[in-house]
């Protein structure tokens, strides 16, 4: 078995873009790393029904329910992550030792496509602090 890596789409899309200056790639992709597990509810549907304007946790996007789990603020090399209602994490923007290619292995068509190339990530290694 063998399959070629198709990077044509990515090449086309990145050709006209400016060089990457932040942790978000020109194609709008970010790599977020947390030293721990991100615990989310298992059932979106019933919780979404009970969602209020105040909380605004749930929304519909492309036919699926998604949950807003936090807020991220980047200040140069420093990053702050608020998770849920109670946790605040402090982290950094770091350059990856080696760039990582995100590849999509499409088993339906037996194709591999390069989605993007990540050069930076935002990493949160420290214990979460209370929000206040």
């Amino acid at each position: 078995p063998s399959v070629k890596i198709d990077a044509t789409q990515w090449q086309k899309l990145t050709q006209s873009q400016n060089k990457q200056t932040t942790v978000i790639t020109p194609l709008g992709v970010t790599m977020l790393e947390i030293q721990g597990d991100l615990e989310l509810p298992k059932d979106f549907a019933s919780l979404a029904k009970k969602d209020s304007k105040h909380d605004g946790r749930f929304s519909e996007q492309d036919g699926q329910t998604i949950i807003r789990f936090g807020s991220l603020q980047i200040d140069g090399e420093r990053a702050t992550l608020f998770v849920g209602k109670k946790q605040r994490l402090l982290g950094q923007v770091t350059k990856l030792d080696l760039p990582m290619g995100i590849m999509h292995f499409n088993s339906r068509d037996n194709k591999v496509e390069l989605v993007d190339v990540m050069k930076y990530k935002i990493i949160f290694k420290d214990r979460p602090l209370p929000i206040m």
Binding site: D6, V29, M31, I67, Q73, M103, L114
Partner: protein
Amino acid sequence: SINLHSALEYDPSYKLIQLTPELLDIIRDPEHNDQLRFKSLDKDKSEVVLCSHNKTWVLKQRKHSNTVLLMKEFVPAQPISFDETQLFGLSKPYMDILGFAKTESEFETRETEGQLDLNAVPIYNGELDFYKRATKGPSARVFATLEELLENSPCSALEGISKWHKIGGSVKDGVLCILSQDFLFKALHVVLMSAMAESLDLQHLQVADTYQAVRKDTEDEFNPYTREIIRTVLNKFAVQEQSSEESTWRLRIPFIAQWYGIQALRKYASGTNMPIDEFLIKWKSLFPPFFPCDIDIDMLRGFHYKPTDKTIRYVSKSTLPMDPKERFKVLFRLQSQWDLEDIMPLIEELNTRGMKIDSFIMKYARRKRLGKKVVVTSR
């Protein structure tokens, strides 16, 4: 601030693959499209490799304990609103990103030497019933072309072609095969004899002319030397010139001389010590008459030892122990003192840690300077 969202389930078909500077260059360049391929010998047992047109990388998966989310910017279908006192001083959101994949491992790419998978490539020794024997039985698997073999091997095209030439790969009766050492040597001899008989230019040999020359000299009935065989001989013992339109080959005379020398060692100095002077004459006698080459015993380093100062004897590396300590022991039993250059080819393959060769030798032997030479003896 940026609003972070997540789907209920993540798509596991997204993977993170390490891109070395070389891989990154290839992947960026539209000129090199379709060059990178993942390959494997089978679906569930063999390793997966990544190949460019001339290099091979092996994939290794490394799981880790962190949560890594791959997130993509999106424009919400409905504006996202929530009570912003929740932000506790963070600035107002200006963007939304959605986690579309959670990767628990990274795939490292390590450069490796590509290999040909020769399981389905039989050896051809000039036998008449080769095709019958090669294709016998329901499970007899063979390849018809080199392209097929390369497709089915964990290596890049250029590495594969280079190795194929080196091992004497050929085609006989439509079946990909490897010429046996014996047959290959016979074929070389016939090619040299015929080329010289027809006064062909040994620096610019062509398959067609060489084939015709060989045909002239050999009876049709017993002539196994097809164009493919001739091509195999040229690919092994000559260098293909890139400049010309018509492919021409330039003979590798020193390499050919060495081959004849190894044959001479096997034939005349195998079970017995032979005086070097006598050996040189025997060696020269194996060449086609007037074959233009110089010979020197140093060309046969790695294939002989000197039991005494003036005698020589064949040694085959494959019969020597693989353990370094044992190998040095055996070599010193055969010859008590070695010139560094003479012993080097017989032990360097055991230096698997990539040490400086001198340091490696000093682990198992004593190193002395004798005038301009460096000699090696047992500890």
